[in-house]
């Protein structure tokens, strides 16, 4: 494997993070141009060729399928095995790593994304089931200037320590503010109750969301 020159980094500003999130979205493949066999790595020019390959070489294996997803407003065609979750598709097919792998059984909320306005656990839904729905990930929220106050407030209040679960919280928080622009602290706690932070940052999320709600409300007016 060729090595790119290792990069070094400095302080990450809101603009830089938003830019990286936008770049990640832009890098998602829009359409399949090659079809790689996940079992032996051979690459084919068409889906039909891949199916033929399966019939000939892997007759006992399930043939991958193509799925069309709408992620952060962008249409993406991906090839995956039918049992793959949306979480797997986001990371391994689309390069989006904001939804995090933690519990892998729907208990922690770290992989939360938004599907048609509702928070869902991407580790618990098959990617194939997501066709036809609008999916928004934390990258989409970070790249949208409207939600800068939420990101700002999260950073201002240290609503993260190690930061691993943070995107899941932030996605849930955005979803809450979408349907309830002025939540109370109790409503925030309820909304976030499906998210686990092993660093124990819960009080900071309430502070951040309350502040962001106020700012977004003022900006909206």
């Amino acid at each position: 494997m060729e090595e790119k020159k290792a990069s070094v980094g400095a302080r990450v500003t809101q603009e830089a993070a938003a830019g990286q999130a936008a770049a990640a979205i832009n890098s998602m493949p829009a359409a399949l141009t090659t079809f790689r066999c996940p079992l032996d790595g051979r690459v084919f020019a068409s889906y039909a060729d891949l199916v033929d390959h399966y019939n000939a070489e892997h007759p006992d294996s399930v043939v991958p399928i193509t799925v069309n997803l709408t992620i952060n407003g962008k249409n993406c065609e991906i090839l995956l095995e039918p049992h793959w979750t949306l979480k797997q598709a986001l990371q391994f097919k689309l390069g989006l790593t904001g939804a995090k792998h933690m519990c892998d059984r729907g208990a922690c909320g770290s992989c939360t994304v938004i599907m048609d306005g509702r928070p869902i656990l991407s580790c618990q839904i098959l990617a194939a089931e997501c066709e036809g729905f609008a999916i928004q990930t934390v990258e989409g929220i970070a790249a949208d200037p409207k939600w800068k106050p939420l990101i700002d407030a999260y950073c201002k209040w240290d609503a993260m320590q190690c930061g691993y679960c943070t995107p899941g919280f932030l996605v849930t928080a955005k979803c809450l503010l979408d349907r309830n622009p002025h939540p109370t602290e109790t409503e925030i706690k309820k909304a976030l109750s499906g998210n686990i932070c092993i660093c124990g940052t819960y009080p900071r999320h309430s502070q951040a969301i309350l502040e962001a709600a106020e700012i977004i409300g003022k900006e909206g007016n």
Binding site: V8, G98, H101, M102, T137, A142, C162
Partner: protein, 785 residues
Amino acid sequence: MADIAGKNGQREEFRVVGKPNKPGILSYAQASGVAKFGADYTAPDMLHAKFLRSPYAHAKINSINTEKAWRVPGVVDIVLWDDPDLMGLGGMPFGPPKSYLGNVAHQENQEVGAIVVAESEDACEEALRALEVDWEVLPFIVDLREGGTNPDLPVIRSPEDEGGGDMFGGRPSRPKEGNWSFTDKIEGDMAAGEAAADYVIEYDTNMPIFASLIPNATGSIAWWFDDPYHGPGKSLHIEGAVQRRGNIAQMYHVSNEKCVQEGLFHGGKYCDWSLRKSQEITPLLAKRTGRPVRCVNTREETFDFLMNQRLCHLRIGFTKEGLITFIDDQSIADGGRPGNSSFGTTGDMGYGPYYTLKCENISQRYKVVDTNTGMMYTSGQHCPFNWDTLTMGIHIIAEKLGMYPIDVARLNLHGPTSQKDTDRVPSFEYCLEEGKKLADWHWHPNRAKRLPDGRLHGASFRYQMCPRHAFSGYDCKLELRNGVVHLPTQGPCTGIYAVEANAMTVAEELGLEYEDISVDFDYRETFTPVGGGSDGTTASSWAMKECANILKEKILESAIRAANNPPPPSMFGGFGGGPKKENPLKGHTPDELDMIGGMVCLKSDPSQGMPLKQATSENLFATYSGRPPASLWSLGMGKMLDTMNTAYCEVAVDEDTGEVEILKLTVVADPGKVMRLTSLESQIDQVMFFSQGCQLLEEYVYDQHTGVRLNANMIDYKKPTPMDVPSVNRKFLESRAGNAAYGANGISHSLCNTHLIIIAIYNATGVWVDPPATPDKVLKALGKI
């Protein structure tokens, strides 16, 4: 020891240090989801790897038939424990080489016997299922009480299975007996202590297992690449072994320069810096296959101990006034599987709460039991573990004598300098005074108070000295480049906001703002802000403070050079410029200058100065290698007291349902100096979250018949959620008595506890409940079920 030796350690005015709401250097990356952790990395043409894991608590693999596994589509490599590539890998340079993997599992789900590499994780798992493994199931111990009291159990560990020990000592003081090792530490005159006692109490404490501390699934990805710039041979790129790049380089015999790791993020590295096999093995597999290999644990595979179980039996003698005359602690500690940190067993017995007492007759006799329960890496959050056994004793004494527990604590706590010092510890007195106010502290005997809704009310108090052992040295470097101060560091970013405190310190010393400091992350840099102990962060800030002052001297000297010998005007310099303003620094000496508000200016008249960028055009470097003076605590091993923390808890207990509600948690702590307020407050929230979890919810359950862990997942092992946690009242004292930057010493995990809530339940109900105090246990303790 206050920061007297360092530059400006006694600074009185702070513009930057201690201020709230300064975003972390990498917070925006974390919040935006663009921060990459080890498990997030992928690479083109990447393979996946999975370890075979034991379905048994203790088992030996006699043989593995790989024939069927090789036939699984997508399988690229299968490595068995006796493969030559695994012999000696990561081992000691002396003695006969051992297999990196081995064929004996000492815990259910432990990596053992085989590694499969395949095109996908699914193929890995299918191949693992297809391995025909000849298991020899061996006797096991997962019940610590049984293991620690039954001498007739089969011996589960051979001498060659023993771990190599670790940095925390805990060496056996008696020959091993079967599954038991012994460490005894006896000080003073126990017989005299017994004779002086008017009363002797005995009680048992169960410090439960506390597990699953690391948020992110541990794992790595590695590949080899051509890199002629750093010598012959391939170079290694690994992601996921954060802050352990050097260990990986050493393991694979490549120089540090030929080992690349850009990633900065690792979740929850709260005193657990040990690498897991999934973080170590990928370079080998990448070398064998010639392709990038990713190996990431599942959550079930990341359920290691933050704290081993310990069963304590205490005998405490005391006078009718409440003065403790002896302490006899006989603990049975879970030694876990081979390699378990001795910090979880006996590594903390050399210091701790007993040494905060005037009583000098202290006996600690620990029996460490080999078990098949699990593994504790490095150290834990609840330290020292016996702090809670003493706290329980203080409350039992108070109850027996009709005293306030705070008064019992105050009576027994020795003075700042030694166990013979009868003076008050100022920090303790302040924390008590403020704590009682903040907690609205009204003590009552057990079962003496009911709330208007009929529930029983209980309260508890705990004092705690912050264990500090930051003996680490720090190699700091600062650079003024094009008028901007750069702080280069290798990171990492693990949740403790360490480099942020460094940057704030540099800004403070150089008259700049926090945002002015460019923190440059580069894996090749030597400086890391992380050090051992609760004072690690503040200790690195101490070293960085010294470095900043060295840079400051150079800047001032440079500014004088520039003022006295300005560069000649260039031919392009005059357009539209007019006559240049006289440099106000000209003719002065560096001693007459200061840096204030982003300016290099005259001390005598700060309005006379120039912005830093204009004051000098030179690129300047400053380095400092060193560490702050050792803390009083570490010098005295707990027998010298400078800073102190106190915590208070109030609960309501429903006798009909067994439900416990935390009404109030209060913490008044003395971090010496607040370095970064917002994250310090969050640390308090965190330790209370940990404390609540292990006392009310979190319980690690084993099938006693098979030794299999039943709830190593986040559904059945309950962590507190946002709905569970109460808000924590907090207040900080800045005594400036710590040894690190500006007299800070940190707090970190020292306030974590296993029994603050349990003691409040005791105060409410008059009965002891073993943690976690789930409703069924409370009802059982009350005799209702």
